[in-house]
Symmetry: C2
Subunit: 338 residues, 2 copies
Amino acid sequence: MDIQQVARRANVSTATVSRVLNKSPKVKASTLEHVKRVIAELDYIPNTSARNLRRGRSRILGLIVSDINNPFFPELIDNFEALARAHAIDVIFSHTNYEVDRLRQCIRRMVERNVDGIAVFTSEADQASFEFARARKLPLVLMNQDGPRSSFHNINVNHRTGAIEAVEHLYELGHRRIGFIAGPGQFQSTRDRRSAFVAAMAKCGLAVKKQWVVEGDLHLQGGYAAMLEILRSSPCPTAILSTNDVMAVGALQAARSVGLAVPGDLSIIGFDNLPVCTMVTPPLTSVDIPRRDIAGHAFRMLLEAFEQLHAEPLATPKVLTQLVVRGSTAPPAAGRRK
Amino acid sequence: MDIQQVARRANVSTATVSRVLNKSPKVKASTLEHVKRVIAELDYIPNTSARNLRRGRSRILGLIVSDINNPFFPELIDNFEALARAHAIDVIFSHTNYEVDRLRQCIRRMVERNVDGIAVFTSEADQASFEFARARKLPLVLMNQDGPRSSFHNINVNHRTGAIEAVEHLYELGHRRIGFIAGPGQFQSTRDRRSAFVAAMAKCGLAVKKQWVVEGDLHLQGGYAAMLEILRSSPCPTAILSTNDVMAVGALQAARSVGLAVPGDLSIIGFDNLPVCTMVTPPLTSVDIPRRDIAGHAFRMLLEAFEQLHAEPLATPKVLTQLVVRGSTAPPAAGRRK
DNA sequence: GTTGGTTTTGGTATCGATTACATTATGGCA
DNA sequence: TGCCATAATGTAATCGATACCAAAACCAAC
C-alpha cells in the first residue's frame, strides 16, 4: 500500500496525491475531494521513513530524563508529550539512570533516529555528548547548564526564590537553627539547591552549621539516615530543608522513629512538591518546581529552533520556584514567638 | 555525511561500507578495520530513515499507557525501555489519558511511524483501534483483554491470587466485616479487581454487603470520599480493600479524620504496591502487581512476533499478584481472636 | 480562433542505505 | 605457470514520498 497505488486508483499522478497529503493549496477542489476519498477508502497511511528521508526532517523530538521512576518527571514528560501531540510531533523517550555513558548512548541513538531536537532533563551532564549533537547542528535544550555550555538553549530554574521563601517562612515561624539534607555533589540540580539554601540562610542572617548539613542519596533511606545523623548533633536544628521530597519523607520517618513530633518538635520542608506531599502525615510543606512551565519552554524552544524561526539562540527563560506551605512546618517547640 | 562519503574516503564501495555497518561476515579483516576507522574518524551515523525505508522495518516499538502520572506505570515503562535498549530498539511512548479517542490516535500515529509492534497498557480498550492494527498485521500486546479480542497477544494478570491472599490475611486476623472501594466500571482493570474481591470473599465464606462497596475515582479524593461514605453505614466494616493504593491512602486519611486509628480501628489494604506504600504512616499493606514481569512479557512477545519466530499467537503468559503485608493491617479492635 | 497568463497536473530525479547479482581478487594445487 | 574454486568487492536497482520543472488545461480578452 503505497502512494502509487493510491495514484493509480484515483487516476492521478503520485505528485498530486502527495500534494493532497501535504495540503498544498494548488489542487483543484474536485480532485482534492476525489483523492481524499480514495485515500480513505484504501485506509492509506503514508510511509514516514520515506517521507523523512526525502524531507530530511523527522518530526520526532527526543526527551531524556535521569530516571523515570523519580516522580519528578512524569508530569514533565506528560506536558511535553501533550504539546508534541498537539503539533503532530512524536517523542522518543529515554532515561539515563544518572549514568553519563547512558546519556551519550541516548543522544547517539536519537541522532540516528534523525530527531529534530532533544530536551535533556538530567542532573548529570556530559560535555562530549553535547558536542556530538552540536556538530550535527541538532537543537538541544538543557536545564540549568549554562556556563561553558551556554551556546545551547538553556532553561534556567531558579531554586533560590523557593529556598528563600522556605527559609524566610521558617524564620518567621521562629526557627533559627535550620539544617539541610543535601544531595550527591555530582548532580547539577542538587548543587544548585544546596547553594540556594546557603544563599537563603545568608539572606536571613543565619549561619550554616556544618554538622547540620548532611548528604543523602536522594532516596527514602538516604533521607532517613541523614536525618538521624543530623539529630545526633547538639544542639539540634529545629527545622530541616531537604533537597527533595522523597528524602524529606525519610527525614519525617526518622524524626518520628526517635520520638520527635512533626511539626511540633521539628519542621520539615522538601523540594519538588510531588504528589506524595499530600499523602503523608502531616502533609509536607515543599518548594514547587513548575514542571509544566519547564516542559512548555523546552518544547517551544525546540520547535522554534528546528523551524528556524530564530537563527540566534533564544533568550534563556527563567523559571521561578515557589514555596507551598502545608502541615509539616510550625513554630519551634521551645518558644512560640511569632 | 552519508555512506558515499565514507565509501569515497575509505576507497571502497558503498556496499562494502554497508556490509561493515551490518556486520556482514564476508568482509576481509583488513578492510573491516580500515572502514571502521574511517567511520569513526568521520563520526558517521547511518540515516535510519533510509535504512528503515529499505528494510521495511523500523526497530521502533510503541508503548501506550493510560496515564503516565499514575505511579503504576513508570516502573513498567522503565523495564520495557531497558529491554528495548538492550536490543537496540527504540520506544515511542504515548498515553491516552483514559480516552478512547486518544487511543485510536495513538495507534494511528504509531502505524504511521512504522512501528514494529505496540504494547497497549490501558484500562480502556477500543475494538476499532485494534482492528486497524490487525489489518496491517501489526503485532499488538494487550493486558487482560481476552474474550472477543483473543486473537491479539494478551497478558493475563491474575488479580484473584492477590485478592484472595488479602482477604484471607484479614480473615486470619479476625476480620469478618470487609468493605471494598471500587473503581469506575468502565475500566477493565477495575472490573477485574472488583470481581477478584467478590471471589475472594466467597472463598472465605464472607458476604459482600452492598453498602460496604463504594465506587471512587481512583484518586486521593475519591478514596477519601468513598471511605467516608462507607463509614456512614452501621455496622461499619473493620477492614477495607481498595482498588488502588492512591485511594487506599485517601481512605487512610478519611479514617483518621473521623478519629479512627489505622490499623487499630480499621485495617486497610491497597492494590498496586506503589512506592508510596512505604512513605505513608502506617506503611500500607498492598497487593503487588509484578510490573517488571508484565513489561518483560510484553516486550518478549512483541520481539518474537515481529521477528516472526512464531507465526502462531504465543501462549498467554499468566502473571500472579501477591500480597505484601505492612503496617496497615492488624486484628480488629473488638476481639483480638487470633 | 488566437494569444497570453494562470491553474492544475504529470514526469522524474532525489533522499541514503541495502542487497541481488556481477565482477574481480586470492590462493591452492597440478 | 595456469586454472578453478572461493572469497571479496563493486554496480546498480530498489524502498516510498517529495518537489523541481515541464507540460497541459483552462480562461479571458481581443
